[in-house]
């Protein structure tokens, strides 16, 4: 999309100008909580990058919309900082010894903002709705594929019956898709799948205004008293009201913040970060997302990446640290595995290991693989064919300047090993077409699942929905299935460690690049700015307050 490229360029060109215009002053970083003690009252405006395509949590599909979901909706479980499950609307759960049923006890006194109490019938209504044909096909086919029935044991107890042991059902219960909607909304909402003010939940805020293309407005839910243990306070939210305004251009978000038109923004790209860190009235915080790292997956179904030596050579040909620094300055965190380093399932043995941008090694591996000759342009050739690999990026899903990163990798592999990486930035239809016709050798992706196991099932299982390496290895499938069935966390981590060794070290199926992160920039007058534990995305407005 040339228009997109043009705007990126224009934004880059404008950044220094904006710095001058905004009149930033340099200064020391402020103390952690300059806003003083938490206090109740007031309202603020938060500029967000992404307008959610739906406000119904069951239909949730955008990690960037997660912070909005938890204002009005809540799930039965949540994750704490260590990545362990914590109670929320459910006070606890019990797994049957055979792993085939989960019994949940619901918290007392929780009511939806339309007055309906949250009880076992309400939970059953939500899960049954999710399994209704045509309502949420992605949830029914992936997260709930092993669920056969939901039983109401008594008003406070609900039981989920599975066909096969599946610990990821707990991840579903902690996910936005597992959030509880008032049964009355499920029956009566005008546009249930799109959500809106008439689709209500139990959360600390109530959505009372949605102006499409412009903003969402929430007011405090005064009766709220069931915050999860991961929050920093209990009782109703501090803020009377909060407005989320959609500002898609990062330069505009930062400008709105530096001119005090908004108090909080999310999504601050590397080029704009100096504007925030250089301003004493502002504070920048960042956190790594959970899920899978941003990686290049190698298509093993045809040459040249059917040869493990070529896959290894491609990895050695990229000096990842240098490439990341040139694109993101020092704001990116390098990834070493298919799993993000912030996930509890990440195998720490991979830190700084495996491959190191060793051009000599890359060249000797390619020589061994038979790519010995070079053509006039310096690319390696074998049997008259150039060593060309294609990366097709779908423009609507390119974020974090991944198109620029691809150009940096392209230059690196050409220079150090004579590999011809062809990058094309196309519309989604063209990208899907290329993948279906198997006309690609490199596939780029990151996923923001709270439980990395869910991401790996899609990416690495031979029957996975986005198995773009097209690997069909019974060993990998077995490990993934064992990981999904393992109830004991230590045993489970061990299984995923084995899996990472196999996938990253032995088979070199991918080149991990960086761990996606989210950033929040806020006025120092705003307190309680934090990220959702484990997910690593901006948290809801529940803990925010305005200092005096």
């Amino acid at each position: 999309m040339p228009a997109n490229r043009l705007r990126t360029l224009a934004a880059a060109a404008l950044a220094p100008l904006l710095a001058v215009v905004a009149g930033c002053s340099t200064g020391a970083t402020p103390a952690a909580e300059a806003a003083g003690q938490p206090r109740s009252g007031g309202g603020l405006t938060w500029a967000v990058e992404t307008e959610p395509i739906t406000l119904n949590p069951h239909q949730y599909a955008q990690a960037k919309a997660r912070l909005l979901v938890w204002n009005t909706f809540e799930s039965l479980l949540t994750y704490d900082k260590q990545g362990k499950l914590a109670p929320w609307l459910a006070t606890g759960w019990q797994v049957a010894p055979d792993g085939l049923s989960y019994t949940l006890t619901l918290r007392d006194g929780v009511i939806f903002s339309d007055g309906t109490p949250l009880d076992a019938t309400a939970v059953k209504a939500n899960i049954d709705k999710l399994r209704e044909p045509g309502y949420a096909p992605a949830v029914a086919a992936v997260q709930l594929r092993n669920l056969t029935a939901v039983e109401v044991v008594d008003p406070r107890t609900v039981r989920l019956i599975l066909t096969t042991p599946d610990v990821l059902i707990l991840d579903f219960l902690a996910s936005p898709q597992g959030a509880q909607i008032s049964p009355r909304s499920l029956r009566e909402a005008k546009n249930l799948k799109a959500g809106g003010v008439d689709v209500v939940g139990t959360g600390p805020f109530v959505l009372d205004r949605y102006v499409a293309g412009q903003e969402l407005h929430y007011r405090r839910n005064p009766g709220y008293d069931w915050a999860p243990p991961t929050a920093t306070h209990t009782g109703p939210a501090y803020l009377d009201e909060v407005t989320y305004r959609f500002l898609k251009e990062s330069a505009v978000r930062v400008g709105a913040l530096t001119s005090s038109q908004v108090q909080v923004i999310e999504g601050v790209p590397a080029t704009d970060q100096p504007l925030v860190t250089g301003n004493r009235a502002l504070r920048l915080t960042r956190e790594l997302n959970s899920g899978s790292a941003y990686s290049y997956y190698f298509n093993t179904s045809h040459p040249p990446f059917d040869d493990v030596r070529v896959r290894q050579a491609f990895r050695e040909a990229v000096d990842v640290d240098t490439v990341l620094r040139s694109v993101y300055r020092d704001t990116a965190t390098r990834a070493w595995s298919v799993i993000s380093p912030s996930s509890p399932l990440y195998d720490k043995r991979l830190d700084g290991s495996a491959y190191s941008g060793d051009a000599a090694k890359a060249n000797s591996l390619l020589d061994q693989a038979g790519w010995t000759a070079r053509d006039a342009e310096g690319y390696r050739v074998k049997a008259g064919k150039r060593l060309t690999v294609r990366l097709v990026q779908s423009a609507p899903f390119v974020r974090d300047r991944r198109d620029v990163l691809a150009q940096a990798v392209q230059a690196a592999v050409k220079r150090s090993a004579g590999i011809d990486l062809k990058v094309s930035l196309v519309d989604q239809g063209t990208a899907t077409d290329a993948i279906q016709r198997n006309e690609y050798e490199v596939f780029d992706n990151s996923r923001a699942d709270t439980d990395a196991g869910a991401a790996l099932n899609l990416l690495l299982h031979s029957k996975g929905g986005i198995n773009r390496t097209q690997i069909n290895d019974p060993g990998i499938d077995q490990l993934l299935e064992a990981g999904q069935a393992a109830v004991d966390p230590t045993k489970r981590a061990g299984i995923y460690a084995d899996l990472q060794q196999r996938v990253v070290v032995e088979q070199a199926l991918l080149l991990p690049l960086y761990a996606p992160a989210d950033q929040i920039a806020a006025s120092t007058g705003v307190g309680g700015v934090r990220f959702e534990p484990t997910a690593g995305v901006p948290a809801s407005a529940y803990d925010l307050w305005i200092g005096k």
């Binding site: 043009l6 404008l14 044909p133 546009n191 500002l247 898609k248 709105a256 038109q261 519309d427 239809g429």
Partner: protein, 311 residues
Amino acid sequence: MSSPPVRAVARRLGTGLVVLWVAATAAYLALLAAPGDTVDNIVGDGADTPQIRAEIIADWGLDRPAVVQYLDYLGRLGGGDLGRSYLLQRPVTEVIGEQLAPTLTLAVAAAGLGVLLALLIAVATAGYRRPWLRRLSSGTELLLVSTPSFLIGLLLLSVLSFRFGFFPVSGDQGVVALVLPAVTLALPIAGLLAQVLRDGIDKALDEPFVLTARSRGVRERSVLVRHALRHAVLPAVSLAGWVFGIVIGGTVIVEQVFGRPGLGQVTLSAVTTRDMPVVLAVVTLSAAGYVVVNTTADLAYLLVDPRLRRS
């Protein structure tokens, strides 16, 4: 007596309907021919299993032959039903309905401002009275016409909003928030229209009737505004369709930069995700807009040029 005008109006309406049908069909065919199929686009980058695909196909009736889907679409379009958005899961009439007003407000404000500016500039700089002003003005016009509105918008924002705080950055919050987006869109329009108008005035000033008027002792300002400008307006009126296009196209960028609600944002996301019902509705609606604007322009000729009225 009244039958020729009635027939003329009927013919215009008929032509308009044909234009609409052609536009709707062309858009339909273009989307059909574009790579990737509808199911892929609904799936997006989410989970993808045969079961999910089957449900989507059943849900949207995508298993019917293309011709049947097309006829069904035309039939519903004729009845005013624009279908349901793949992505937003809401009726398209509703999606577009609530976004139409902000875009129209912006478009009218921008077009009005652009025309006004163009008239002022053209009248002030036409003729050979002030060569330096003329040079300055045509240089600025060229710059404005060739600068992407994205850049103009960001510059206006960074100076007038971020630095001095005269105007709010975002949203549809009354007249104050309309100023910067409208100016951003109006400047390129003003730039081009001013050049066309000035050119027209210059030509008219060389005509014999101006000499006649002057010799009758008509004041220079009056010559310029009442006689020359009137001639110059004709070619400018024929640019009305172009202005409409600039404004509608420009809203895509301007609404994005200023965080304004409107059709531009809807169009952008619908095109990138190939949300077919929304794209088709926007194309048909824009075609209808063109038809209305061009018909109005034709009528305006009659008003401006008495010669056309007689024939």
